[in-house]
């Protein structure tokens, strides 16, 4: 491999790595959002249950 080929490969690898890092960061953020949505979904039925009035039956 000549010096020019090495530098050209490095330049294209930098572009590829940059885009890859960006995609990984976005994926991590979407994972966090998914976790938060799950957490919110779990909290919602519990909150609704707490708000329900208790009445005596019979």
């Amino acid at each position: 491999m000549t010096t020019a080929e090495k530098y050209v490969t490095a330049a294209y690898c930098v572009v590829f790595a940059g885009v890859l890092v960006y995609v990984v960061l976005i994926a991590l953020k979407l994972q966090r959002l998914e976790r938060e949505v799950d957490e919110l979904e779990r909290r919602e039925p519990k909150a609704a249950e707490d708000e329900r009035e208790t009445i005596e039956v019979g």
């Binding site: 330049a11 294209y12 976005i26």
Partner: protein, 229 residues
């Protein structure tokens, strides 16, 4: 504008697939079809992505400024977030321009960076200006004031784009190659075809990444609203 609005209606997975295919075609053309440059030889192949990424960065900054104008002019509630995401994309592509440019400079000129070259320094100024956008944005509490400050700042930055672009033409030393003149591009044949495909691929990639990031940011905002409701 009509093309961008049409693109925004294309489903995100389809857009991602098309940009991936176009990127593969561009890489194939760059490494297997485009001929070696008579002066620079193999190293000139950096040009296809370096110049395309630079134009993509300019397009992102211009889109950010356009959305900022929409925010200030029509008070479009989505425009502030869209402007922020476009500027963010511009900074990412700007980083890639500086990195690929440095590598190309090292092969062609023997230096990673030349402070005497106006076009390099002006692009760095433009890049740093937009980096400071985030410092301004995150130093103000979320709300209309932050949106207004960010919009005005993004609009000021757009003035630097023609300055940075024209610097290559008005630079005295002409160390940086001038590839686009008033009479059109300085190249033709497969070089022009490869450049056009690479440019289309990178613009589409930027648009896809913009849509992905915007979807994430909107989801985040809605989640925050739900949590505090």
């Amino acid at each position: 504008m009509r093309l961008v609005s049409r693109l925004s209606r294309v489903p995100l997975p389809a857009l991602a697939v098309v940009s991936l295919v176009l990127m593969m075609v561009a890489l194939t053309l760059v490494f297997y079809v485009a001929p070696n440059d008579a002066n620079q030889g193999f190293s000139q192949r950096i040009f296809y992505f370096h110049v395309s990424i630079a134009f993509t960065a300019y397009a992102c900054f211009a889109a950010g400024a356009w959305k900022a104008l929409l925010h200030l002019w029509k008070r479009d509630p989505r425009a502030d977030l869209e402007s922020y995401v476009a500027v963010h994309q511009g900074v990412i592509f700007g980083t890639l321009v500086l990195l690929t440019g440095s590598i190309w400079a090292k092969i062609s000129w023997g230096h990673w960076w030349l402070w005497g070259e106006d076009e390099l320094v002006l692009f760095l100024v433009l890049f740093l200006f937009y980096c400071a956008y985030f410092m301004l944005r995150f130093s103000v509490d979320p709300g209309p004031q932050r949106a207004n400050f960010s919009a005005v700042y993004a609009l000021f930055g757009v003035v630097l784009i023609p300055v940075s672009f024209l610097a290559i033409r008005i630079a005295k030393s002409f160390v940086h190659p001038e590839v686009f003149t008033l009479h059109g591009p300085n190249f033709g044949g497969w070089i022009l075809v490869t450049y056009c495909v690479a440019q289309a691929a990178l613009l589409l990639l930027a648009h896809t990444l913009y849509r992905v990031e915007l979807t994430g940011k909107r989801l985040d905002a809605r989640l925050r609203e739900l949590r505090f409701a």
